[in-house]
Symmetry: C2
Subunit: 333 residues, 2 copies
Amino acid sequence: MPSGTRATPSIAQVGEFAFLSRLLPSLPHTPGTLIGPGQDCAVIRGLTRELLLTVDALVDGVHYRPGWLAPRHIGRKSFLVNVSDIAAMGGRPRFCVVSLGVPRAYPARQLAAVERGIVAAASSCGTAVVGGNLTRAQALFVSIALLADAPRRRVTRQGARPGDRIYVTGTLGDAALAVRALSARRQPPSGARRRFAEPPLRLRAGQYLVEAGIVSAMIDVSDGLLQDLGHVCTQSRVGARVDASRIPVSATYRRALDADVALALSGGEDYELLCTVPERNVPKLERSAATLGCPITCIGEVVRGHSVRVRNADGRLRRGGATGYDHFRSPQG
Amino acid sequence: MPSGTRATPSIAQVGEFAFLSRLLPSLPHTPGTLIGPGQDCAVIRGLTRELLLTVDALVDGVHYRPGWLAPRHIGRKSFLVNVSDIAAMGGRPRFCVVSLGVPRAYPARQLAAVERGIVAAASSCGTAVVGGNLTRAQALFVSIALLADAPRRRVTRQGARPGDRIYVTGTLGDAALAVRALSARRQPPSGARRRFAEPPLRLRAGQYLVEAGIVSAMIDVSDGLLQDLGHVCTQSRVGARVDASRIPVSATYRRALDADVALALSGGEDYELLCTVPERNVPKLERSAATLGCPITCIGEVVRGHSVRVRNADGRLRRGGATGYDHFRSPQG
């Protein structure tokens, strides 16, 4: 091999514009994209009058470490964590723009895989990637801003009332289980690793729970159940009581940790939906399990007060507090 | 002072949620913001049917080095580089979301200044900051996605035709002059430094040039005039001839470099508007100087072919080529 070349050229060797000129023609357009990437702005139309807008980022060395995620999964996950926010407000994602920071030595082929992961995940959610920005950075970051059609009803973190039941979709704790193993350089159970790499898609559930008027408040569980429930309580000016024995965990989780749900309560990165449901809506919710496309489990109830308490197996209540993930205070992740 | 504390606490000492809980109430809302920051998504309305969407990022160590920009200017500039893209398509910026990556040791007070810089710049452009994301990162990055009302006419990089005149707003080269001095650890002329810190606002000019139907193609000059003109030529399938003697430069630039416009031609970070104007629209353009809010100068013309050529003072034409900024190939910046 001649000196100065490599089997896998870096993004610096390929160059910003050459990379983009290969990438852009491969992007699928969706109806409503009048002008896609390659101009100063995208031009879009066909949205509802009310819109949802959100942004989230994945950073190398912060959200994952070398070897934890394949490039395609980095792309896929960066998109899906945004979708999770849209799902929590019952929206339909439509258009996104992607901001990439890339180290000079990053292999161009891997960057293309990151992009393909974003585009494939976006396409599977009916979303067009209509623009982006590519800049150099010390460590890879992928920041995606996502625009969605708003539902006709508005659900936030603020509507929970004492007496409402607290529900959560899917299962909790697997992603945190994977992170704990990976941080200790152990191989995580494959189910947990898959869950860390690929957040669940709760769009249909979120849309139904909002449009059918079932939920009084909703949030996506990204920083740990107790912390995100704490946000709902603070913003709704209520307290909550959670039953540890009812926390839904996967078979993988149970094999690894048996009945210890501490990690499921505070681990983070679940990207499930946490919602509060007035008692009168509970029968309707229980009947609509098939429509949601995922399990949904009652884990407790909203109470007067302002604290989140967990009832353990021994029947004792303990303060749940804000024990989840803080990007600057939490040691790992 | 007790050990373990500092005069200026870092973002890690303050914590993500404490920082945000102080910041969010200070954000001004604009009409159309139904739900601002603090929920999973913002809810917005009151936009036109066609929208513009763009994203751009500023990265510490890439777009600037320590001491080059005050925190407030980092915020301000991150917003204004996005506005420049909106201006180039004649839009009216309305809503933005901010994605921040912040090192653990970054002083919380400086981060608050970055935020204030963003919010002040946004407010001055009639734009609401409706959401954001705060994550840890090795080096500070600020990525902003900006949503704008689209104008009734659509202008892109694709409409230039042979015979069109080429115009540029304001002056070129000052930001590059500042970067060159700062990179060599010299003090740049104050005018140049100000220009690097504060991109010009060309919203009114962009809106008028598009809405009045004056321009056939437009782009913002961010990567250097010749390179950005090259994008217009490639996408319009034309060539261009630029007259070096007509490149508009500031008094600061002329004092520093006299008649040498090489840096003004390829330096980058000008954030001026470059447009092509069919000859029949030239009288209208010349009459509307006052409406634009900035000078606009004819620097050459669109020709058949596909190359960008520069006529130097000696009358000789040389190939302009793509000599501007590539994020991965250019050594500085």
